[in-house]
Subunit: 353 residues, 2 copies
DNA sequence: AATCCAGCTGAATCCATGA
DNA sequence: GTCATGGATTCAGCTGGAT
């Protein structure tokens, strides 16, 4: 745990215990199939991704590699685990189809829209200004983690969309080797991993990255109080990543607390309000339209022609498929109408203390 | 030519002569696999895409369908032809892999970022705010059409990126049936097709849409002076499309001439007004002295003896070294002359949100 | 005549828990 | 496994009628 394992990711994954990982973030080789060299208009040469680890003999060979590492990844995930895979149009369609074929259940595809992409120097295509991430549950039934409120807060109060605008990794964040060259050709920005991990994992979760590279996933996981496992077969990358992560400090515990939704709060049966005498049997509740229902001793309501729970009676009055009775009904307190949800909040705050 | 053919798209395509089509735009079924009903927080029901044509028994069945229509499409394309396919995460990965397997050569994936997507009502995933288009040549050797300068002109003088922000099709553009309901559940916006056709085809080219629906491809092709072939098996959609396209008027010939040489960068994206249909190619703009200039499809203007950006033509008419075209030009709206800057403000307010 | 507001809608794989 | 039930959840933009 919190280590970088040496070796081929498939073999290493198969040596780890099954159902032991909460989240996987994978940045596999893109299989770029670049032909000649590319030069900028000023004749400078573009430093391309031409590493041996990105060479595959055919689509079939790439597909086999993809199926194999996905199978190993799926074995490692807990039943409610999830996976993120990032790629470009060269490989992401094959990865996505393989994910579906393996039984993963796609939850979203998320577009990383680069605010500062490399232009298309030849003027023969569109500027390749984005990469695609696929977020998928281990299976269709997985109860995946999604910190809705935290992401909404990250986005100034509006729910997070499937397109994320983030700059590419450069400047001080971009790791250099001893010669001052970039240490890894495709280092991902920490901002990207921050959003992934805040949104789809919780503190203490185990996060695995089978293509660890220079360790962005590990660095951000450490900051955010997640446990990480990295797998990387290139010694040079492992060395850079080790040094990088050792310098990372975990955020304060308070900083790791994210906004939670009401769903995470304890359930309070309406009957408790009656039991505790906050509402008395026979007391009248009022709908937004002024309709009246009476509280009964067992915590149900009775209206003019219907009885049942606060939700059922509200739904009936509205002719709606469902209704949140807590916010629907009000009662009279000192002559003013007050939502009954206020009483639930009182009970919850008592429970917390 | 310029007709809507009735029948199954694979059979119809196989009945057409091979190597006869320059460009294909395809909006195939997405295979959504929706389960139950979905309600908004206000309890209104979401009108889902549950049509029979989007039902497939398995991924294997969908893959076979995809391979078959792609093979027919590939046969129809000229050697230098290209194809666009649009989809969502439900199907686009399978389509992309099938394209590659069939020998198509992916040129870009292009993300349509929706400025006004439907939210995620249950707060369980990211807002599904984009769709993906794949642009591919018939083969790796295809000398595909790419109107670099025209697209650059549409994008305020900056080269066009692989992510396009456009609103979904609603308002008056959205076609209704006799009962006032939407005529087609997934009608695409004309702005999207405008950019596709201006960017990757030339006037006179033959454009095929094998999933014609209500004919957005045909309508925009006609406006832009392209020949179209539509294939649609649902009589109701064909009827709506026929009526729609009959009302479309082709733009003036000179409006279709797009820039072929570099020019000064306009300071503002006037082209977006054209792309979004706020101003139509061929429409007249008026100077303060009553002089007239016509809008062209790539967002440039043509006057009596001058053509160029809104700023350049304005400056020429005034004999001035420079001119702010945004405040200089007006267009007619409901009989009144309105500065085009009003339209820019509309776009800006959309972008800000 | 402008402005405002309520209402409606869009390619959506959209719940969790306990009996 | 199924089933019933509590109760949580939305953004942008257009339209048509009211102010």
């Amino acid at each position: 745990m919190n280590a970088i394992l040496d070796g081929d990711c498939i073999k290493v994954m198969n040596s780890l215990p099954e159902a032991s990982v909460d989240l996987i973030f994978a940045d596999p080789p893109y299989n770029l199939q670049l032909k000649g060299e590319l030069h900028r208009p000023d004749n400078s040469r573009v430093d391309a991704v031409d590493d041996a680890w990105d060479q595959f003999s055919s689509f079939a060979a790439y597909d086999k590699f993809t199926r194999d590492w996905l199978a190993a990844a799926q074995r490692l995930l807990k039943p409610n685990g999830a996976i993120w895979v990032i790629g470009s149009y060269h490989n992401i369609f094959r990865v996505g189809a393989a994910l579906q074929d393996a039984g993963f259940w796609i939850l979203n595809d998320v577009v990383w829209r680069k605010s500062n992409p490399m232009p298309n120097f030849r003027g023969k295509r569109f500027t390749n200004a984005h990469e695609t991430m696929i977020w998928a549950g281990k299976s269709e039934d997985s109860k995946y983690t999604f910190n809705y409120e935290a992401l909404k807060a990250l986005n100034e109060g509006i729910q997070m969309r499937s397109d994320w605008v983030l700059p590419i990794c450069n400047g001080h964040e971009r790791l250099k080797d001893d010669k001052g060259d970039k240490a890894h050709p495709t280092q991902k920005p920490e901002g990207l991993l921050h959003r992934v991990l805040v949104g789809s994992s919780n503190p203490g979760d185990v996060v695995l990255d089978p293509f660890f590279g220079t360790g962005t996933t590990g660095a951000v996981a450490k900051m955010l109080g997640r446990e990480f496992i990295g797998i990387e077969r290139e010694a040079a990358y492992r060395k850079v990543a080790e040094k990088r992560i050792s310098k990372v400090r975990k955020f304060d515990r308070e900083a790791l607390q994210v906004s939670t939704s009401k769903r995470a709060e304890p359930r309070v049966p309406f009957g408790q309000l009656v039991e505790r005498g906050m509402l008395r049997p026979g007391e009248e509740l009022y709908s937004p339209r002024g309709q009246i229902a009476k509280v009964r001793a067992d915590g149900t309501l009775i209206g003019t022609d219907v009885k049942g729970s606060i939700h059922q009676v509200g739904a009936h009055l509205e002719g709606a498929p469902s209704c949140n009775g807590w916010t629907y009904w009000t009662f009279k307190q000192d002559g003013k109408k007050v939502p009954i949800d206020v009483l639930r909040q009182q009970i919850r705050s008592e429970m917390a203390s």
